[in-house]
Symmetry: C2
Subunit: 189 residues, 2 copies
């Protein structure tokens, strides 16, 4: 059957994601990736078609992770407000050492110039927005939130806010303030 692979592909993708997260796409070299994954550059290109392909794979993995986490939160019992706040804190990367959100970084760095990446980012944003919308609707039904707001627009607001916070987090600043913003916006629902 030939020589078995000396490393797990999934683990490698995770590590790559971590590096891209910290350094961005252009700021990360194949050599650095190989070192980080503990493999040779040849293996890297043998396993992943290109740096770009690996990047997209890392982004997709990130999306899955985030959506999984969101779904879990959404299924949990109890008032929805605190869970919304928690979700926003995690998504924006508040308290997570100035990394922000990989997807936001990717969207801002590559933007429309890279249609593939752009599409992945857009998908994630859209799905997060949908989860927010459901959460808001649920909170309105249970009486936790006021019903005088359009869930749709409010969800977009939350999304924009989370994305903005992730940029501010990356630029650096007190977590206190960021939590305050999240509290304020969710308490206002």
């Amino acid at each position: 059957m030939g020589r078995p692979m000396q490393f797990e592909t999934d683990t490698a993708v995770d590590k790559a994601m971590e590096l891209f997260w910290r350094q961005g796409y252009a700021g990360t070299t194949p050599q650095e990736l190989a070192s980080e994954l503990g493999i040779g550059k040849g293996s890297l290109y043998n396993t992943f078609e290109s740096k770009h392909a690996l990047f997209m794979r890392a982004l997709r993995r990130y999306s899955e992770r985030r959506l999984e986490h969101l779904t879990d939160l959404f299924l949990a019992p109890g008032p929805i407000g605190p869970r919304l706040k928690e979700a926003m804190i995690v998504l924006a990367g508040v308290g997570e050492h100035q990394r922000g959100c990989v997807m936001v970084n990717a969207a801002a760095e590559l933007g429309p110039a890279d249609v593939d990446v752009n599409r992945i980012a857009d998908d994630l944003f859209t799905q997060i927005e949908a989860v927010f919308r459901q959460a808001i609707a649920q909170g309105q039904k249970s009486g936790e939130f006021a019903v005088d707001r359009v869930a749709d627009t409010a969800a977009s607001q939350l999304l924009a806010c989370v994305i903005g916070l992730s940029v501010l987090v990356k630029a650096g600043g007190p977590s206190e303030r960021f939590r305050g913003v999240i509290d304020g916006i969710v308490d206002g629902l």
Copy 2:
């Protein structure tokens, strides 16, 4: 006294800003810059120390522009709400062909890895936030906005929202939705 310069430095910085805006920092080559400015690479490096220096200069110029515009809006007469909305639309680049905001792009692309750029970005964000805070306070004093919100936190919210919108604008999407978000958040003040 020797030969005078054949191009205006300020105009050149403006054009460079335009290019960086569209293509990002890493995505823009010195050759492209020279072509865009209509000069040779030699002149480029003779006038600006390096690509990085030119980039920072373009970012500073962008900051000045934006703050100037904000100040103008703030000094204008009439209700503050519409002006706030207008400011947010301009800052986020709504309806401006998927470019978003250069500073947000720069902060997300280079992040904490580039302390100089990071500082410029942080400065602009802080100043925009301050203007928002003043505007909100003014609106509260005039009775246009409710007084039950802390102007400080609300300003941070607006800032986060604007930044997030600029990312969403860059990723592409209907301007309609973005205007709706802005209307919603300002009308809720």
